[in-house]
Symmetry: C2
Subunit: 186 residues, 2 copies
Amino acid sequence: MMVRMVYERRDVIPLIGEAFRRYGFEGTSISRLTEHTKLGKGSLYNFFPGGKDAMAEAVLDHIHQWFETEIFKPLDELNPSEALDMMFAGVSKYFRSGQRICLVGAFALEETRDRFSSAVCSYFDRWIHALSGALQRSGMNSADAGTLAAEVVAGIQGAIVLSRALMDETRFAAIIARLAQRCRGG
Amino acid sequence: MMVRMVYERRDVIPLIGEAFRRYGFEGTSISRLTEHTKLGKGSLYNFFPGGKDAMAEAVLDHIHQWFETEIFKPLDELNPSEALDMMFAGVSKYFRSGQRICLVGAFALEETRDRFSSAVCSYFDRWIHALSGALQRSGMNSADAGTLAAEVVAGIQGAIVLSRALMDETRFAAIIARLAQRCRGG
DNA sequence: CTTACACTTTACCGATAGGTACAAAATATC
DNA sequence: GATATTTTGTACCTATCGGTAAAGTGTAAG
């Protein structure tokens, strides 16, 4: 077994993710990634023999894992009220009040959706079902919980778009607050 | 004055817009635009001496004009209930139940936002204010109307993201229906 | 018919795209 | 320390990128 190196595959995935966030999938060139990761082309293709597509796949998987442990699992297992607080606080921090985009949402809007459709689909599907489950455990009936869950997940995506478009972080916070309120039955 | 030709500048703008929608700004190459518009490179640069940026600017302007006459003006001038119906019906048709993306929203997520920030910002600003005005005329107080307007515009953007991610048009319709219901005070 | 101008076609430009080849260097195993 | 394996740097490949130049073609006004 090798001793932990400064740059392993798993260390470079978040850096690639940030580059995709900033420039989009098409707008991120390999040479831009070498600057951003401080890794040569050879190293990049050594870690990701599948090229840019494989990098995107790895990034999407990494994101899904983060949400799985930080958001989805708590929604499944914790008591609903606590889990909902955790979710809204978690996404506000993760998306930096809308200044950091949701890469999965951005991919859904691009042509790249077709290339990574299963990753994109499973992320949102998992989120909605986890949220819907928590809402049901908090006393909501199944149909209402499903509708509200989809509404909330969509609302978060929309809040990112809007706060970035208007370059106003407070928009994100305001919309998130309203969504949280409605989950509490307001 | 010249006789109306088959391809004028204004005829080609929607075609360029559709290409941007499908492939994104970075993903749309000039050669792809020549195929999509059936115009040579020379013709394109004759119509848009500023290149791809000028094309995007023209497309954004064209979109804003469409919304101005079909959505924003009615919200300003018609009676609120009628204007709201028109808005929800209009966007559902325009975005083809989420299968056709909002280019302005997509630009807000990309790096291109910085290049076209004023067009992106004014589009959403205008929409929110027009909607807020209609909601106020329907009896809502100013603060609530402003909050709900932002929520609805964000919700529409989120509905596009979600329905595309899940490849399910019915999601779009369901979320739009709920947003409409809340505008009617439900 | 001629002149003027709008439009199109074609060839071309340097830069950069994603990707490969391969030798050198670093590291791990024995 | 010798050997096997990973990791890295560099040079290189073809294709395409956005954009330009200029000659040619069509149309319209005088």
